[in-house]
Every structure is written in C-alpha cells, then in structure tokens.
C-alpha cells in the first residue's frame, strides 16, 4: 500500500516539444495474468518448427499478437525500432511513412550508384538493400559508453557507465533522430525522411553528424574517466 501511495505521488513530466504530459507511473495491473499467459511466436520460421513437448506454450494461453508484429516479408527489427523512436504523439503511421520514404531514397541512390559503377567488382561492393544499409548505419552509431549524472557531496558529476546492446541501439537512434529533427525544423524544402536517409547513408560509410556525436560522447567519457569510481 505504501509503495502504491509513493507511486501515485510521483510527478508526471512534460515533453518539451508537444507540451503533453506523460505518466511516469508503472503499470499497476495487466489484463494478461503473467502466470497463465505466454508471448506469441511471431517469426514464421519458428512457427513452422515443432514445439518441444515440455514447452509451457503447449498448455497455457497465448497473448494476442500485437498489431505491428505481423510476419510480413519486409519485417525488420531495427527499422521497426527506428519507427518507434522517431514517433511523435502516437503517430506511428506518419513515422512509418517517414522512415519508409527514407528507405526508398536510400534504395534509389544506391541503385543509381550501382548502375553507374563501371566494373562488376565495384558493383558487387555496393549495398542496394536499404534495410541492410539502415542496419549497418545504426550499428555504426552505437556508443560504447553512456554518461549518467551522479550526485556526490552536493556536486553532480557526469559519470561514464557501460551500456547494453539494446540501449546502445536506442541511443544511436535517438542521437540520429534529434539531429534530423533539428535540421528538418529549419528547412523549408527537405523533410525529416530526407534527413534520415542522408544520415543513414552517411553513417553507413562512418561519416555524418551522428557519427560525430558518437565520437564526441566517447571523448567526454574519456575526459570524465576519473569519476568512474562514483558508479554504483
């Protein structure tokens, strides 16, 4: 009861861009009883395999599949996550259109490069699959460390912390998103999707502002390594 009271008293925070209040409270209940429900299998190749006889999914309920988990052939986890990170005010359809238009731009540019390449060896080097370009671009932007504020003796230090793969992916996407949003805000010609395409292609070649931002972060982490003992 006490923890519940504390949770209720926690303040919601306002997002800077839209002024919308987002609740920071943890979900107190779920409609799916965790003892009876298991997650669905959403990959087609796993579905085609036979389930092990001792698997709990044989005799427990399965949660309904999420509507954005349909096993279509172009399903890509990294691109889906990028769509979610770039989403504003729950407008997933808009965000998806933006990202897919960026992928289309990448496809056109890479195809043009491929068509104009003089020799077969050079053609073989050019990646024309936009999903692979996006994956590698994001992968190149993964930071190795993160900076977290830690207060010691009234002073707040920015302390480098190790980072997990999933979070590194998120931070890479967030850096890219913020850079592209900033640019799109001041442009009257190009849109968010165009900037994302530019950034992804640049990051694919280890260039561009997101890569710079990553290197900047690494430098700061290096500079603040003396505070590392404040961790934990």
């Amino acid at each position: 009861m006490e923890t519940l009271g504390i949770a209720c008293r926690r303040l919601a925070f306002t997002t800077k861009a839209s002024g919308r209040r987002i609740s920071t409270q943890k979900a107190l209940a779920t409609r799916y009883d965790p003892r009876v429900f298991r997650d669905p299998i959403i990959k087609l190749d796993e579905l085609n395999k036979k389930l092990a006889p001792e698997d709990e999914k044989n005799f427990l309920y399965i949660k309904a599949m999420e509507s954005d988990d349909t096993p279509v052939f172009y399903r890509n986890e990294v691109v889906d996550k990028l769509v979610r990170v770039c989403m504003k005010d729950g407008g997933k359809e808009t965000s998806r259109n933006n990202i897919f238009s960026a992928l289309e731009i990448i496809k056109r540019r890479q195809y043009k490069l491929w068509r104009e390449a003089p020799t077969e060896e050079e053609k073989a080097k050019i990646e024309t699959n936009p999903f692979k370009v996006a994956e590698k671009g994001i992968k190149n932007c993964h930071p190795l460390m993160k900076l977290m504020p830690v207060t010691r003796g009234g002073t707040t230090y920015r302390v480098p912390f190790p980072i997990e793969e999933k979070e590194a992916e998120f931070r890479a996407m967030k850096m890219m998103r913020d850079i592209c949003r900033g640019k799109a805000k001041h442009s009257k010609i190009l849109h968010f999707g165009d900037y994302i395409a530019n950034e992804l292609l640049a990051a694919y070649n280890n260039e561009g502002q997101t890569i710079q931002a990553k290197q900047e972060l690494h430098k700061q982490c290096e500079a603040n390594r003396a505070y590392a003992h404040y961790r934990g």
Binding site: F13, R35, L44, Y61, A64, T70, R96
Partner: protein, 383 residues
C-alpha cells in the same frame, strides 16, 4: 451411548464419536451426570458435538420439508425434485440483481452450507487418541509434519544418490509445476476441514515451496499435485476467448463456411470465412484496398500469411461499434483466424501459437477526475 461406556471404563476399541450423537442426546437427557473424571475440554467438546448433531438433524428435516413445499409451489413432483430445480425455483421466486453471487439467496442441503464439525476419536479412558488433538488444528499440523517427513526423505534420498554417484536423472529432477498453482486459502480450509489463519496457510506453503525446490522432489509429485490446481482452470481449452466456430456448408454455393463473432475494445465483428475462394474481402462493403493504412492491411492479411492461404479464402465481415482504422482490422483479424482454424484444422495450432485466435482483452483505461488522463497527473505548481 458414550457416557455409560466411559463410566464403566469398559470397551477395548477406540470409538468414533458423534455420528449417532442425535441418538445420544435423546438418551442422555435423563441420565445422571457423572463427568468428574472427564476433562473440561472433553466435556465441552461432547456438549458441542451433541448440539451440532441435533441442530444438523433439525436442519436436514427442515430442508426436506422446505423442498416439498417448494415442489408444491412450483408444480414439480416432490419425489423427483433435484438441486437444479431448487436453484431455478429460488432464482424465480427471489429474483436478485446483487452483483456478488454469494449475496444472492440460496437453498442447499445444510451439509453443504453449514460449517463442518470436527469429530475426534477417543481411547477407552476418554483421552483423545491423537495427541495433535491438543493443538486445536490436528489436520493442519498433521499435514505440516507430513510435508516435513517427505522433505526429510527427499533430501536423504538425494544425498544417498550423490554419495553413490548414480547417474539416473529421477533423483535429480525437481517436480514440474508449470501450468499449475497452489490451491488458495479457501480451498485449503475446505480440504482440511479446519479453519486456518492466513499465517498458517503461509507456513504451509513455505514448507511446500521448500519441498518442491529440492532436487529429487519428483518422487513426491503425486502428493504435491493434490495441493495444486491447473491455472487455466474450469475449461480444458487452451484458447482464450471465443471458441472455434462450427463449419457450415452453404446450400447455394456448396462451399464450406465458418462464422465467428468477436470483440475488440468496443467494436463487435461478425466474420464469415469461406473456403475455395479467390481472396475477396468485404468489410462493411469495403474491400481491403479501401484501407489506406499499411498497418491495417498487414493486420487483415496476418492470419492468411501465418496459415499460408493468401488468395484461397473469401472473407466477409460486418462490424458494429465505435472502432476505426485500428480496431476494425484487429477484430476482423481475430474472426478470420477463428474461421480459418475451423475450416483448416491443421493450421489451428500455428494460429494459436502466433496469438491470432486469442482474444485481446486490453481496453482503454478510463480517465480520472482531476487528472489529464488515466494515469498522467497535472504538473505540481506552488501557486
């Protein structure tokens, strides 16, 4: 019957008290009281036992009489009236809209409703034959010590097994508990026939949890399973939500069809899937390409992708409710999946594992007064 027996200190066997207690009370009413040698506790127990037996006899007679009155009122033959008829009659005569079913009027045999009276066995000197009698909760403590003994045995067997360096896996396995849970406090009380507190219940399951955590506890799985119940209780079905519909054959076209009624949020959909089709869609008169959102089309096609049946069935759906571009396709998806599972039983398991024939119970949470949303709060300002 018992009193003279105690007085004379005769007899050579323990005797079960109270089953004929109604007869005792009649007999003992005029008998001289000579209970000095019997402890006060036993005296009280005997009195309670007698009172309970006579009360139960009275209640049983009342119930039988009431049953006959009820049968006359409802025009049923009093000799053939059963509990089902009684329940229906009570529901008809005393209509109640109280939400809690326990608060509604019932008429059931007194043995089912009234609390059970614990009867104990005594030796020929009037002492309880089981020393746990003095704990006041003999069955509870008996179970607790049984668990203790079993725990001891399991750990001893395992220790031997380790010492001998045997390689069979039976003595290493813990009992499998997946899909089941411990029975709740109410059921435990009923099983023991004793009134135990929540603390006592917790004690019991601390002991149980320790037993099942031991390697080799699989040898006691039969004992443990007496105190567990399946999680997906009541139904044997592994499908959450509406069941798979029956296949019908259309008399005109001679095609097999299956119709399912489903709900997502406040949208109700009736979906008919017909086999030997060409992949046509009719959702409230719209085809699939009228849904401009890519996500909506993906959701609609999802069951067909999983079942690998694109272009082989026709789907016709009608929806009622406030649903829009997201809820309508989700409802149609659920109905389509149920129809496919009915028409093509070999894809049912695949659809189930993909979570397509499960009902999505999630709903919009209501907004709260004095808050901007269901959970979000206004920003606190001093002035």
């Amino acid at each position: 019957m018992l009193r003279p027996f105690l007085r004379s200190s005769l007899g050579n066997a323990t005797r079960f008290l109270g089953t004929e207690a109604s007869a005792i009370s009649e007999e003992d009413a005029g008998a001289p009281r000579n209970l000095k040698r019997i402890g006060r506790a036993l005296e009280t127990y005997l009195r309670h036992s007698r009172e309970n037996a006579s009360m139960m006899a009275r209640e049983r007679a009342d119930f039988d009489l009431g049953k006959r009155h009820l049968a006359n009122m409802m025009g049923i033959d009093p000799h053939t009236i059963n509990q089902n008829d009684i329940d229906k009659a009570i529901e008809y005569l005393f209509p109640s809209s109280l939400f809690d079913k326990k608060a509604r009027p019932v008429m059931r045999p007194p043995d089912e409703i009234l609390p059970r009276f614990n009867r104990f066995t005594f030796d020929d000197e009037g002492r309880p034959s089981d020393s746990r009698f003095y704990t006041l909760r003999p069955k509870f403590y008996a179970l607790l010590s049984e668990i203790g003994l079993k725990t001891y045995n399991v750990s001893r067997l395992h220790a031997e097994h380790v010492k001998l360096n045997r390689k069979d896996d039976v003595n290493d396995q813990t009992v499998s508990l997946t899909g089941t849970t411990w029975i709740n406090e109410e059921k435990m009380k009923k099983k023991l026939g004793e009134n135990i507190t929540t603390e006592m219940y917790a004690h019991l399951f601390l002991a149980f949890d320790y037993l099942v955590s031991l390697p080799g506890s699989v040898v006691e799985s039969e004992f443990i399973s007496q105190f567990r119940e399946p999680l997906t209780s009541a139904t044997a079905s592994r499908i959450f939500g509406p069941e798979i519909p029956k296949v019908e054959i259309c008399s005109k076209t001679n095609r097999r069809t299956a119709t399912a009624s489903v709900r997502v949020k406040s949208t109700n959909a009736t979906v008919t899937v017909s086999d030997a089709g060409t992949g046509q869609w009719d959702i409230d008169g719209l085809t699939m390409h009228n849904f401009r959102s890519l996500l909506a089309r993906e959701v609609l096609l999802c069951p067909l992708i999983v079942a690998n049946l694109i272009g082989q069935v026709d789907v016709k759906a009608t929806t009622v409710g406030a649903g829009g571009a997201t809820a309508v396709p989700r409802a149609v998806r659920h109905g389509t999946a149920l129809g496919l599972a009915a028409l093509f039983p070999d894809v049912e398991e695949k659809l189930r594992l993909a979570g397509l024939i499960s009902w999505d119970p999630r709903d919009k949470e209501r907004n709260k007064v004095n808050q901007p949303g269901a959970r979000a709060k206004w920003i606190w300002k001093r002035r």
